[in-house]
């Protein structure tokens, strides 16, 4: 039973999914559909005029309670390239006041005539709560606390697909602070759902309290896992983890779990390195490794807009019932 199976009215009158709150909302077929659509939008993005009228007349509002200029711009560019109108509400501006009830804020925004809300918050579950309060708008989770970041996982699947031809049978390791990572949760579901073998490589203190039901293996020995991998997916390590008694020091972390120059040489030919960004050079990965051919980090960023166009189109334009896609 997934969190999002609790949200009511999951599809609209034409059978299209109403929200993207977690990767589970799509399932493997849905992810495949997004991948195919992304190909079309990559082509659109390469045109002299990278724009299609598909969502003309629709309004997409970004509600970024937690600041992230990069992700917000990626979504807004995606909306604009679909000819939708964009409204921005961000934590920095006064438009999102802290004291106001979350529900009131959301209903006020919806009342302005909004077809989709892209919601990012530092607290897990907010997009799910928002989806329960809105009357007709679609909700896209742009990252909620430690819970999920579905569009990140989708663009990661797309990037891997372009480089390696597909995910079936690939050996992927997700390395680092899984416990506090919404990217890790979404990616585990997405990668495993598409047939990859996923291993979590992490010190015990940075793993979730319970991995029951997670389709993963676990290793605390990065060096032994490394040579067999097709994809090394590195997670960002936040410095606060030291003060929470989860790690003794950054140096010890880098020595045991960092993708150093030495470790990069252990990679099998054809293996790729990925990171959701922003990268802590020198901590989870050596600076020079990020710039090597083996790194797909810039492609991840580049694919972000096209993937988000695919998601917005699927929710607002396509009228497709993903369950039968």
């Amino acid at each position: 039973m997934t969190a999002t199976q609790q949200a009511e009215k999951r599809t609209d009158a034409t059978g299209a999914p109403r929200h993207l709150l977690a990767i589970d909302d799509l399932g493997p077929e849905g992810i495949g559909e997004v991948m195919r659509l992304t190909d079309s939008f990559v082509e659109v993005s390469r045109r002299p005029i990278p724009k299609v009228p598909a969502l003309r007349g629709k309004t997409v509002a970004s509600l970024f309670f937690e600041d992230s200029t990069r992700t917000r711009l990626s979504f807004e560019t995606a909306a604009r390239r679909l000819s939708a109108d964009v409204m921005t509400f961000s934590a920095g501006s006064s438009s999102l006041s802290k004291g106001e009830s979350l529900r009131d804020t959301v209903l006020t925004v919806e009342a302005m005539g909004v077809d989709a809300m892209v919601v990012r918050h530092s607290a897990a579950g907010v997009p799910t709560q928002v989806a329960g309060w809105v009357r007709g708008a679609s909700v896209v989770n742009a990252g909620d606390g430690w819970h999920e970041h579905p569009t990140q996982a989708l663009l990661d699947c797309y990037t891997i697909g372009r480089r390696k031809g597909g995910l079936e049978g690939l050996r992927i390791a997700i390395v680092g602070d899984v416990r506090h990572s919404r990217v890790a949760r979404s990616c585990v579901t997405a990668f495993a759902g598409l047939g990859a073998h996923v291993t979590l490589v992490s010190p015990p203190t940075l793993l979730p309290a319970s991995l029951a039901g997670w389709p993963v293996e676990v290793s605390h020995d990065f060096d032994s896992v490394l040579p067999k991998l097709d994809v090394v997916y590195l997670l960002r390590l936040q410095k606060e983890r030291m003060t929470e008694a989860l790690l003794p020091s950054l140096r010890e972390y880098t020595a045991t779990y960092g993708l150093t120059r030495r470790r990069a040489e252990l990679l099998a030919p054809g293996a790729i390195v990925m990171h959701p960004g922003p990268v802590n050079r020198g901590v989870e990965v050596a600076a020079e490794v990020v710039d090597m051919d083996v790194s797909a980090v810039t492609e991840q960023v580049a694919n972000g807009v096209a993937v988000r166009m695919a998601v917005l189109y699927l929710l607002l334009g396509s009228g497709v019932d993903l369950a039968s896609a």
């Binding site: 195919r36 190909d39 082509e43 659109v44 724009k51």
Partner: protein, 167 residues
């Protein structure tokens, strides 16, 4: 129409295109996905043979320009590949069947994003009537009056009219 009829009609249309557009370097033949691509390929080949030069060919999926997005499932079916800047070019849009004209209107909108064409002409294997917009073809394989609820299938193998399947 059987396969032989289709072949002859294609041959005739290609010659009409050359007649109107003597310089193949100014031409781009663009097939609409997915029904018009086979015809565009054949026309491009014959035009190339007749003129002794190479004519540019491309494909176009108009899903994102359709006016019925949100009313029913609309997903792109295949790739859009337009190899050249269309500014100053004469584009010949190619489709298998011309019906309401809405697909062609969507294609005209899409083409606009690839540059300002000098002219756009339309080639179709079958014109089945029932236009809802002021669109007319320049090159027609055959005019076939049909009922609204009939289905028309036009491929290299021939043209077939059938009844709409009632679910």
């Amino acid at each position: 129409m059987d396969a032989e009829d289709v072949r002859r009609a294609t041959w005739r249309m290609a010659h009409e295109i050359v007649e109107r557009n003597p310089d193949p370097s100014q031409l781009a033949i663009i097939g609409l996905q997915t029904g018009g691509v086979w015809l565009a390929e054949r026309l491009a080949r014959i035009v190339g043979e007749v003129t002794g030069g190479d004519v540019e060919m491309g494909t176009l999926d108009v899903a994102f320009y359709r006016d019925d997005i949100g009313l029913r499932p609309v997903l792109p079916e295949a790739a859009t590949h337009i190899p050249v800047d269309l500014t100053g070019t004469t584009v010949v849009l190619v489709d298998d069947v011309l019906f309401t004209g809405r697909t062609i209107r969507a294609a005209l909108n899409a083409l606009g994003d690839y540059g300002r064409a000098r002219a756009v002409q339309l080639a179709v294997m079958v014109d089945r009537g029932h236009r809802e917009l002021p669109i007319r073809p320049d090159y027609v394989g055959k005019n076939l009056p049909t009922r609204r609820d009939e289905m028309v299938d036009a491929t290299e193998e021939g043209v077939v009219i059938g009844d709409v399947q009632v679910p």
